[in-house]
Structure formats: structure tokens, C-alpha cells
């Protein structure tokens, strides 16, 4: 499992990399980027929180 950011919706609020710096990074101007780290399966609830916290609704979870 990992995250996907819809870059057409991301406007750089920074909630993702603030809440989960181990899974997200900020690019040079503060837009979110998914780190190349698979997310452990036991983290489903926290992943849901991060998806919900993005005010733009730009984050989704990719299975597999």
C-alpha cells in the first residue's frame, strides 16, 4: 500500500508531510510528494486520517 497525490489538486497546504514526515516530503515550494517507502499494512487507520486531513482531497491510497 502507498499514497498517491493528485498534483492537479495539491495546492501546498503541507498537512501530509507535517503529519507523516516518514511517508511524505515537501518539494522546493512546499507541495507534497510521496516518499518511495511502502507503508506497513498495520497503519491503515493512520493512513485514512492523512487522506481525510488533506483539505483539497488530493490524497488517495493505492492498494498493493
Amino acid at each position: 500500500m502507498n499514497f498517491v497525490i493528485d498534483t492537479s489538486l495539491c495546492s501546498g497546504h503541507g498537512r501530509c508531510y507535517t503529519l507523516a514526515p516518514e511517508w511524505f516530503d515537501a518539494d522546493d515550494i512546499g507541495y507534497g510528494q510521496v516518499k518511495d517507502e511502502p507503508v506497513p499494512t498495520g497503519e491503515r487507520a493512520r493512513m485514512g486520517d492523512i487522506v481525510a486531513a488533506c483539505p483539497e482531497g488530493a490524497i488517495s491510497i493505492k492498494e498493493g
Binding site: L9, S11, G12, H13, G14, R15, T18, L19, A26, D28, I29, G30, G48, D49, I50, A52, A53, C54, P55, E56, G57
Partner: protein, 412 residues
């Protein structure tokens, strides 16, 4: 002053109302310019509006649609193709007053070009170095408050921290801080005529233009110098646009953080368990700030005008329709209680879409450090038993007028 709306304005207003009635859209008078309850309990006015529906029509003043739940707010703010910032007016006032604060008062592609130029100056990495200075100013303000022994938080801390920090960063110095803060307040809270609005903007233009011209020959380590160096797609930016963007920074850099801090402390001063949570564990402050911004969303500049026909929640939108974005009500509706430790409920206090508050990362640092320093130095405080909160809603946002605090009361 117009006594009656011009004929075409009247037509489009009545046709908005007719369309609302024909399509079963709720009609609810939502009057941010005149509703006196906004001075007493503004949050009740927002909550009442959200109960009407996610989208409704308000016949107040020139007539406008209101987006009042989070999905509708998000949809409108993300759809800059239909929902334009041109003309840039305050949609809910009786008189149409145009604003000039780029790049907020621009649409793509102009907006995109200048926003890209500004973005590197305000990214989290670019503003991290400001932390020590913000902490220093916070300590100085607390020193002063403790020395005087009494405190009106809105005046002595919330108004001072952003103004002192931001004016210095912008490069304007802080000798004239009270006059500059007053100008930013006028630009945020007055319901001006066009002439008055132009006058306020011209005064701010003159101040920031002076700094920008000065830095062309004498660059320093401040925002004005960075604005001078800024290029848009490799091209020099016309001075009037640089000055306009600095004017927006001048207004938004002072007033927004100030009003938000006032509401955050109003909550903490009335809710001892929440206050104690932050005293005991300051690492909870960032999540608490987000939650309190959501629950006490100060409103923000929130109007759009349809530039083409479209559809919103099944309602047929016509080019020229005005819409007000009721961000505060929408955010509160997501969760009707404050819970400082949660992180999974979003807010729109920094706006959404392409005009998301570019200074949000700086504002967060100011609020976090201000609250860290305050709670480290003054962990016990409360509002006096006889305090009655007064508020005002202006052309851009709402504000708590005063917040007297009893510091370290002996009976705790």
C-alpha cells in the same frame, strides 16, 4: 452612491432569485454587512447558515449564492475555470467595490505566473529561518505583559506579534507599527466606498513602493529585497504588480494571523482542560492550532463570480452570478465539537484551490511559537467572570474585539 442598482444588475439579481425559486434552492437572508448578531455571536450566524443547506441564495444587498458546506466550498474554490476572482469585489456588500491585491485579484494564467514567482519565498523551507526572531519577539511581548500585570490579549499580543514580526521581515521597520497595523485593519474590516478603498490601498502602496525602490539600489536580507529580485518566467515584473503583491503581503501578513490568534486564545482561556493539555505537552500545539482554526475560522476573503455558465449542486449557474464562500460555517459543520488532539478533519481557514493562503506556513510558525512561549511563561490565565465577548465582521473576516485575561490567578 447609487440609490438603485443599475438595470442589468437588477435583472441578474432577480433572475438569480427566480432561478433559485424555480430550482428549489433555499432562500435565506445572510447579511454580513448588517446582521447585528455578528457582533454578539458570529458563530451562531454561521451555524444557522449551514443548516439551510450546502448551497442557498441570499437576497441581501446585491444578492448572491452562498456555498455553506465543505464539499460545495471545496468545489467552488477548486473550479477556477468557472469561479473567477474577476471582477475582484466583496460579493456580499450593497455597493460593488473593486480591490487590487494581486495575485489574489487575478485568474490563471496571470495568477499562475505570479504565484509561481512568489511561492519559493513562502515555502516551509524558505521561512524556517524566521523561527528564532518570532520566538524573540514573543518573549519581549510576554515580558511587557508581565511587567504591566494586566493584559488584553488581542491588543497586547495577538495584534503585536504578527505586525512586529512581519513588518520587520517585509523590510518596513517597526517604528511606525501602530499606524501600519491600523492601515491593515482598515483594509480588512471597513466596508468602504470605492473612493475610501482606493485611498486605503494608495496609502499602503506608497509605503511598500518606497521600500521596494529603496531595495533596488540597496538590497538587504528582507522580503522587499526578495520581491525586487523576483522574476516571473524569467521576465522582470512590472513595478505596479510587485507593489500590489507587497500590498497584499502587508495586509494579510498582519491582520489574519492576529485575528486567528485572538480566537485561539479565547477558546483556551475558557477551556482549562484544553489549556492544560498544551501546557503539559507543547508538542500538541500544531494539531491544536489546526483544530482551532477550523472551529473559529475567521472567514477570509471569500467571493467569486461565475465567468461562464455552469452547474453547481444541480443549480444552473449563469455567467455573472456572485457566490460567497461561507468557510467558517462549512468547517464547523464537519465536526460540531473541538477536539484538540485530532488530525483527520480538514479546514478551509487558509482557503482552498489555487489561491490557498501563500503565507500559511509563516502564519503557522507564528501561532505555534506564540502559543509555545505564552504557555511556557504564563501557563495559568483565564477570562474575567464578567467578560462579554464582542466581535465584528468586516469586508474580509471576523475579529474578537478584546480579550482581557487574568494572569496566573492565585486560586488555581
Amino acid at each position: 452612491m447609487l440609490q438603485a442598482a443599475p438595470a442589468d444588475g437588477e435583472m441578474s439579481m432577480s433572475s438569480m432569485l427566480e432561478r433559485a425559486e424555480a430550482h428549489g434552492l433555499p432562500v435565506h437572508t445572510f447579511d454580513l454587512e448588517h446582521d447585528e448578531r455578528l457582533g454578539v455571536d458570529p458563530f451562531a450566524v454561521w451555524d444557522e447558515a449551514t443548516k439551510v443547506g450546502g448551497l442557498f441564495y441570499s437576497p441581501a444587498n446585491r444578492g448572491f449564492l452562498v456555498a455553506a458546506d465543505f464539499e460545495t466550498v471545496r468545489h467552488v474554490l477548486q473550479d477556477s475555470k468557472v469561479w473567477s476572482n474577476l471582477p475582484s469585489t466583496i460579493v456580499y456588500t450593497k455597493e460593488q467595490v473593486d480591490l487590487d491585491v494581486p495575485p489574489l485579484t487575478m485568474d490563471p494564467p496571470d495568477h499562475t505566473r505570479y504565484r509561481r514567482a512568489l511561492a519559493p519565498l513562502f515555502s516551509p523551507k524558505a521561512v524556517a529561518h524566521l523561527e528564532p526572531r518570532i520566538r524573540e519577539i514573543s518573549h519581549e511581548l510576554v515580558d511587557r505583559i508581565l511587567a504591566q500585570g494586566t493584559c488584553d490579549f488581542t491588543k497586547d499580543f495577538a495584534a503585536k506579534l504578527p505586525a512586529l514580526f512581519f513588518l520587520e521581515w517585509l523590510g518596513l521597520g517597526t517604528e511606525d507599527v501602530d499606524r501600519m497595523f491600523h492601515l491593515a485593519e482598515r483594509a480588512t474590516f471597513e466596508f468602504p466606498t470605492q473612493e475610501e478603498r482606493d485611498d486605503i490601498e494608495a496609502r499602503i502602496d506608497a509605503i511598500v513602493r518606497g521600500a521596494i525602490r529603496d531595495r533596488r539600489d540597496d538590497p538587504r536580507n528582507d522580503l522587499a529585497s526578495a520581491f525586487v529580485r523576483m522574476r516571473a518566467e524569467g521576465q522582470e515584473i512590472p513595478e505596479d504588480i510587485v507593489v500590489g503583491m507587497a500590498k497584499l503581503a502587508f495586509i494579510a501578513g498582519q491582520e489574519t494571523t492576529s485575528t486567528q490568534l485572538g480566537y485561539i486564545m479565547w477558546h483556551l482561556a475558557r477551556n482549562p482542560a484544553d489549556r492544560q493539555l498544551l501546557v503539559d505537552d507543547p508538542s500538541r500545539i500544531p494539531d491544536a492550532v489546526e483544530e482551532l482554526m477550523r472551529f473559529y475560522n475567521t472567514g477570509g476573503s471569500s467571493g467569486r463570480v461565475a465567468k461562464e455558465d455552469g452547474e453547481l449542486n444541480g443549480f444552473p449557474v449563469k455567467a455573472g452570478d456572485r457566490i460567497f464562500i461561507a468557510r467558517c460555517g462549512a468547517d464547523r459543520k464537519l465536526a460540531p465539537q473541538v477536539q484538540l488532539t485530532r488530525s483527520g478533519v480538514p479546514h478551509s481557514a487558509f482557503g482552498l484551490g489555487i489561491h490557498r493562503c501563500i503565507g500559511s506556513h509563516v502564519a503557522r510558525i507564528e501561532m505555534r511559537i506564540g502559543l509555545e512561549v505564552w504557555h511556557e511563561r504564563i501557563p495559568n490565565y483565564r477570562v474575567p467572570a464578567d467578560f462579554v465577548a464582542g466581535h465584528r465582521y468586516g469586508s474580509f473576516m471576523q475579529q474578537l474585539l478584546s480579550l482581557p485575561l487574568e494572569l496566573a490567578p492565585a486560586d488555581r
